[in-house]
């Protein structure tokens, strides 16, 4: 498989996952806001933080009011991480490689982008927002289903899966990081007001609430949620599980030793983490999550050096704009 084709597939999957995860975040936050009293210092700002777009947002808007944040994350063409921009990038990446996937996959990506673009043009009103976000999530899930059900196991599928899992793991750490900063109590025995409700929303944004209920069987408490989302080997959106899938997919590729080793290191960090200690110290947790994100960036760099840039060459700076803009890259500017 050509390196360019592999790289395009990988980014296509990352962008689709990014669009879906952003839609989930927005959807859950909307519901949470309805349940919380007005005076709670939460609001919409954390979403901007989670998506790593703080600097870009501040350039354009003065306040983190609902309308600005929702527009910025859904339909802003100047925000390269908005749902609209992510889907446009996904479509561009697939457009040049559409011959390697079943036609329906291209059609679904195309259809989704065109629908979102059309919606964005007319503005995402609060009344229609829920339907809009649900549609994005469902359509992304349809794509996942199409890939699962129609794409042969091989390098095409592997690169799509690698992109999806890495983006997913990245997104889960962002949600944990931002939410825990405001949610983890200084004293673990103390129960913050509405804490329970907010941890539930964290689980719900990852569609992990029912799974948590079935598996953990405890009331929703910070440390347990943290352990579940970091270390559970079975929950698809848990970080350990994403890394496990990554490692599994890599075995289908040639020359995978370095990437496999990099993934194993990050995975060991996650598995060996002392959750009790992290749960008791927001600053420790923050440092730990920073470490994980550096690990994800390293996985990406190793993948890129091995498969996208030819490893025999000096790594070149990729010029394709929009493709290399990950959340991490933007945070550096903050």
């Amino acid at each position: 498989m050509l390196s360019r084709v592999a790289e395009n597939l990988y980014w296509m999957a990352r962008y689709v996952e990014r669009a879906e995860d952003t839609a989930r975040l927005l959807s859950v936050n909307s519901h949470l806001m309805l349940d919380l009293p007005r005076n709670l210092p939460l609001g919409w700002a954390p979403l901007i933080e989670m998506t790593g777009t703080l600097a870009a947002f501040r350039e354009r808007f003065d306040t983190f009011d609902e309308q600005s944040v929702v527009h910025f994350l859904c339909a802003d063409t100047q925000n390269s991480s908005s749902i609209l921009s992510a889907l446009a990038s996904a479509r561009e990446n697939l457009r040049t490689t559409r011959d390697v996937v079943p036609r329906e996959i291209w059609e679904e990506v195309n259809h989704l982008y065109l629908g979102v673009a059309d919606h964005a043009e007319h503005g995402v009103s609060p009344r229609r927002r829920d339907a809009f976000l649900k549609n994005v999530i469902r359509s992304c899930q349809t794509l996942t289903g199409l890939i699962e059900g129609t794409l042969s196991h091989g390098p095409t599928r592997t690169f799509i899966e690698l992109g999806r899992q890495l983006e997913r793991a990245d997104m889960t750490t962002r949600i944990l990081d931002v939410r825990s900063a405001s949610l983890l109590p200084k004293n673990p025995e103390e129960l913050l007001p509405f804490e329970n409700l907010q941890w539930m929303s964290v689980l719900k944004s990852l569609t992990a609430y029912q799974m948590y209920r079935q598996q953990v069987r405890l009331r929703v408490r910070g440390p347990d949620v943290l352990r579940f989302l970091l270390q559970d080997p079975h929950l698809p959106r848990a970080i350990a599980c994403s890394l496990e899938t990554l490692a599994h997919e890599l075995q289908w590729l040639p020359r995978q030793d370095r990437v496999v080793a990099t993934v194993a290191l990050v995975r060991a960090d996650v598995i060996d983490a002392d959750i009790q200690a992290l749960a008791h110290s927001p600053s420790k947790l923050h440092a730990f999550i920073d470490e994980l994100q550096v690990g994800f960036a390293r996985i990406h760099d190793t993948l890129s050096a091995t498969y996208f840039v030819n490893s025999e060459e000096v790594p070149r700076v990729t010029q394709r704009q929009g493709q290399t803009q990950s959340f991490g890259a933007e945070e550096e500017g903050d």
Partner: protein, 502 residues
């Protein structure tokens, strides 16, 4: 109730490909015309719908730039095939082979000894002012001495029934994928007629193309690494690039996928690492092929590709520089070139041409601007042309000035009354003008496609067959007939001063 009545088909003004006279289909078209006459209006409409659906589901598209965006349009297709008798085609095929053989000898000569100029067959000024002559190619010996491996020659039929060569496309001719897909669609839509086995198949093209490319490989071995090099998805012929790569089972690459190392070897970047490339079927123009040698700003090409080609480490089809023979002034000399290189009389005539560089011709052209088509030597796609009968006084005066200023750059031809063929319009077959582009592959052997791509001007009276301007296409059938073909016309010789066909 029958819908089609060939007695009412208006074919008096032009030579018609299918109908010799009202109510009289040509022998090769007899079976098709009788069948169409038996169809009810509904059945005819159904067949047309079936074709439209087939084109959509098969994803046959071409790309146009419209309102700031690139869009894929469904390929405009007419279900009534254009038919040529096998007897006539055999002669045409021989003529095309002869022509391409001479053209390749000519190109090879230009990049070596230039005997043709020394012997004064081609005036030195024609070569001196050729914009497609590439000094970078002088002295290179491509495999089999072939430069134009894939040639698409445009043929038109005049009022007297003679097939003329209108031009030879020796750079990166396109359209062959549509020729193949047109046949696939027609087989679905008119399967009855294929049962008799008289229609010759076209589908060996891809295999011949692959074999030809494989035979060019600089490395011995059974498994040469062949790639198709495309400028990318925004190119109007991207569908064809992807189609041919897929049909041949080779990689479709862009310039950025390839690299040339310090040993002048070409590689492609794959997830397995570098893989050596032996043969490149390039669909990128010469000027963009290698920024080291040609346009330094090109991002479509591969830096060092010319080094690798010169070193014999990679084969390129078509060879850079082949376009030197793809020049409207050089065109006029092709009959002479055939005589010079092959010592044979040309089997296919040129459209008579007047070269403004010659005083007599120039005088004639300037006096007859209102009836001639004037073409600049090196434009393609119909740009910068004067169509005399439809021109204004001002444009004629402007062209007169242009011709006087740079006579070498202009040639003129009489307007050809392009032949027509029945084409569905408003539910009935109506005469529409057509041309034909056969493709000729030159390797160790020369192969000509069975027929070619018939392009049709869908608008009544229009002569523009280009798909971006209301043109469409149709399947081309070469049909074996039992009887002596009454339509065949004596081929006239191809001197450039032959009498006009009007």
């Amino acid at each position: 109730m029958s819908q089609v009545n060939w007695n009412q088909y208006a074919c008096r003004d032009y030579f018609d490909e299918l109908i010799a006279a009202p109510g009289q289909p040509r022998a090769s078209a007899d079976e098709l015309c009788s069948m169409l006459a038996r169809f009810s209006a509904e059945e005819l409409a159904e067949r047309k719908t079936a074709a439209d659906i087939a084109i959509r589901t098969m994803g046959i598209t071409f790309t146009v730039y419209s309102e700031g965006a690139m869009i894929d349009r469904a390929w405009p297709f007419d279900i009534v095939p254009r038919i040529i008798s096998a007897r006539e085609w055999r002669k045409t095929e021989a003529g095309l082979k002869q022509r391409v053989k001479a053209l390749n000898l000519f190109i090879d000569d230009l990049y070596h000894d230039q005997k043709v100029v020394k012997d004064k067959v081609l005036p030195a000024e024609v070569l001196a002012q050729s914009v497609n002559f590439r000094p970078q190619c002088v002295g290179i010996d491509p495999p089999h001495g072939v430069w134009a491996h894939i040639c698409g020659s445009d043929l038109v039929r005049g009022a007297d029934g003679t097939l003329y060569v209108l031009e030879d496309n020796l750079r990166i001719p396109s359209g062959v994928s549509y020729m193949l897909e047109n046949r696939n669609v027609t087989k679905r839509v008119l399967p009855e007629l294929f049962a008799s086995g008289k229609i010759l198949p076209v589908d060996d093209y891809v295999a011949q193309l692959y074999d030809m490319l494989a035979a060019m490989s600089p490395r011995s071995g059974d498994d040469p690494q062949i790639v198709v090099l495309t400028p990318g998805i925004y190119n109007s012929a991207y569908f064809e690039h992807a189609y041919l790569a897929q049909q041949m089972g080779v990689e479709l690459v862009q310039g950025s996928d390839l690299l040339v190392d310090e040993h002048d070897v070409v590689y492609m970047r794959t997830v397995e690492g570098r893989r050596r490339v032996d043969v490149i079927y390039r669909r990128v123009d010469d000027e963009f092929l290698d920024p080291e040698v040609f346009n330094p700003h090109s991002v479509l090409g591969v830096a060092g590709l010319m080094r690798a080609w010169r070193a014999g480490n990679v084969a390129l089809a078509n060879a850079p520089g082949a376009g030197v023979a793809d020049d409207k002034v050089v065109y006029a000399f092709v009959p002479e070139l055939i005589r010079y290189y092959l010592d044979e009389e040309p089997l296919l005539p040129n459209v008579p041409s007047y070269l403004c560089m010659f005083e007599d011709d120039r005088q004639y052209v300037l006096e007859h601007l209102d009836e001639l088509v004037v073409k600049p030597a090196n434009e393609s796609g119909g740009y910068g042309m004067l169509i005399g009968p439809r021109s204004t006084k001002e444009t004629r005066e402007e062209f007169a000035r242009l011709i006087e200023a740079n006579p070498r750059n202009y040639m003129a031809q009489p307007t050809i009354a392009l032949s027509t063929t029945p084409t569905l319009a408003g539910g009935l077959p109506q005469p529409r003008h057509v041309d034909l582009r056969p493709f000729i592959l030159s390797g160790p052997d020369i192969h000509v496609t069975t027929g070619g791509l018939t392009r049709v001007a869908l608008v009544e009276g229009s002569l523009v067959v280009n798909s971006s301007q209301g043109g469409g296409s149709k399947d081309t059938w070469i049909v074996e007939t039992d009887e002596q073909d009454v339509d065949s016309v004596e081929q006239s010789g191809g001197g450039r001063h032959a009498v006009t066909s009007r």
